[in-house]
């Protein structure tokens, strides 16, 4: 997903780009997430800045890419089930408001009103009506197709074996199917980023963090607002114990096809993408506690994705190592939300040869540009 977005924005600028994909388009975490494009889940900082910039790009994406990404704005509600969570949300919402996020604290009664499935104990929550969702697979595919139409090449089932470096500058990569010469090599390998980094002697502090999701049967009239327990944020914001699966309830309705996705978990389990019984059971238990009526619905299937966890947030642009090596990694659970802005930024970064384009400056310039210019050169 991130790779396809970068390729699209590069190709759009007329830069020749080749995406090298070990498996198929969208086979990694891009197809194993709930498609949330959320601000309410982020604490102020660069990730929030990126998310805000990305969220400005999403509404126009279907038109821009020429393929429907099922962008839907139904809002996001984060509920506190414990005092600790309530305190966390209270601090968070103030910071978010200060940063310009249209988020409001809401009472327990208002939570139930916003999503009538909530019948379990909640102490209150925060509500962000502008938060949205997409079909993650469709976004990835739309970027891939648009990139190809703009002249990018995407090689699927082609793994990178080595990165060639001559005189301190990358010269290309060697793949299972032969060499690809290039001025720049951008690591967008998600949870597998460290493997690519090692090829140029760079250590990336990115760990695979597994998230499991359960898909429910399509049911008519499900409330459309997304709901998650603040426990998910405690884990995400580093305020919870790092061990265990950090299961918190999360409910994502997919109104275009009627299904519901249940999450969420965050666990370090290596590169194992299997689902586990204790986590599936716990996800269901937490969902039922918060929304008892979900207990009567059927689970149809489940999956697990490896989010590229980075303690310091996304690592975009220069990352040490040889000249011409850049990264677009460490998006954690926000790869979907941040992919468009990541693509736009990396394209800018490469076009400027990595000079004079710090991420904060770039975001600052973007903010002042009109929304219609999404994808265009921001200066």
């Amino acid at each position: 997903m991130v790779g396809c977005a970068i390729a699209y924005y590069l190709a759009k600028r007329g830069i020749r780009v080749t995406v090298i994909e070990r498996s198929i388009v969208g086979s990694g975490a891009s197809s194993a997430n709930s498609g949330a494009i959320a601000l309410a889940t982020k604490k102020p900082g660069i990730a929030l800045e990126l998310a805000m910039a990305s969220q400005r790009l999403y509404p126009g994406l279907t038109t821009e890419l020429g393929s429907n990404v099922d962008y839907v704005v139904e809002g996001n509600l984060i509920v506190a089930e414990t005092e600790v969570e309530a305190a966390h949300l209270e601090a968070l919402v103030a910071d978010q408001q200060a940063a310009g996020v249209p988020v409001q604290p809401v009472s327990a009664a208002r939570c139930r009103e916003l999503n009538p499935l909530i019948e379990g104990r909640v102490l209150g929550g925060i509500h962000c009506p502008t938060d949205a969702q997409v079909d993650p697979f469709k976004v990835t595919r739309a970027y891939a197709n648009a990139a190809r139409n703009a002249g990018a090449e995407i090689l699927v089932r082609t793994g990178v074996e080595t990165i060639e470096v001559v005189g301190g500058r990358v010269r290309g990569v060697r793949t299972r199917r032969g060499a690809v010469r290039a001025q720049w090599v951008i690591n967008a390998a998600g949870a597998h980023a460290p493997e690519i980094g090692r090829m140029v002697g760079v250590t990336h502090e990115v760990l695979p963090r597994r998230g499991q999701i359960i898909v429910l049967e399509a049911t008519e009239g499900m409330p459309t607002i997304r709901v998650s327990g603040a426990g998910q944020l405690l884990a995400k914001h580093g305020a919870a114990a790092a061990g265990g699966a950090n299961v918190a309830p999360s409910y994502t309705s997919k109104p275009l096809n009627g299904t519901v996705l249940l999450g969420s978990s965050n666990e370090f389990a290596g590169y194992d993408t299997r689902n586990t019984l204790p986590v599936m059971a716990e996800i269901c238990r937490r969902a039922r506690n918060l929304m008892p009526r979900l207990g009567g619905l059927h689970a149809l299937r489940c999956w697990a994705g490896l989010r590229p966890y980075s303690a310091s947030g996304p690592l975009l642009g220069g990352a040490g190592g040889p000249d011409g090596y850049a990264t677009a990694i460490g998006h954690g659970g926000d790869g979907m939300a941040l992919a468009p802005i990541t693509g736009l930024y990396l394209a800018e970064y490469v076009a400027r040869e990595g000079r004079n384009c710090s991420l904060p400056d770039f975001l600052g310039v973007l903010k002042t540009a009109s929304p219609g210019e999404s994808g265009g050169r921001p200066t």
Binding site: E217, A218, E220, T224, P255, L256, G258, G296
Partner: protein, 100 residues
């Protein structure tokens, strides 16, 4: 039923299909009971509203799913009839309209 047959289904009971009482025999699957009564359409599909009926009758295809006593996604071909059972035949979903 025909007493000349080697097998005699169970006692007559009543199940309610979309509120209408119909007779069935104990031991029958809901699908068989409904087919015996000439109910060939068990539901409408959620996207296009097309009629669907019994297809594989052995629990594989899930084309005969109905709502039984409030439980969605119940295969009529696997569910045994019970006296007083409330069956709802699923209809086409209302199309999602994005809010403005």
């Amino acid at each position: 039923m025909n007493s000349n047959k080697p097998v005699v289904p169970g006692a007559v009971i009543t199940v309610f299909v979309d509120g209408q009482p119909v007779q069935a025999r104990r031991g029958q699957t809901l699908a068989a009971a409904l087919l015996a009564l000439g109910h060939s359409v068990l539901r409408r599909t959620r996207h296009s509203g097309k009629p669907r009926g019994l297809f594989c009758a052995m629990g594989i295809c899930y084309d005969c799913v109905v709502t039984v006593n409030g439980e969605t996604g119940v295969r009529a071909c696997m569910k045994r009839v019970e006296d007083g059972m409330q069956v709802i035949s699923p209809a086409q979903f209302k199309r999602y309209e994005p809010r403005k």
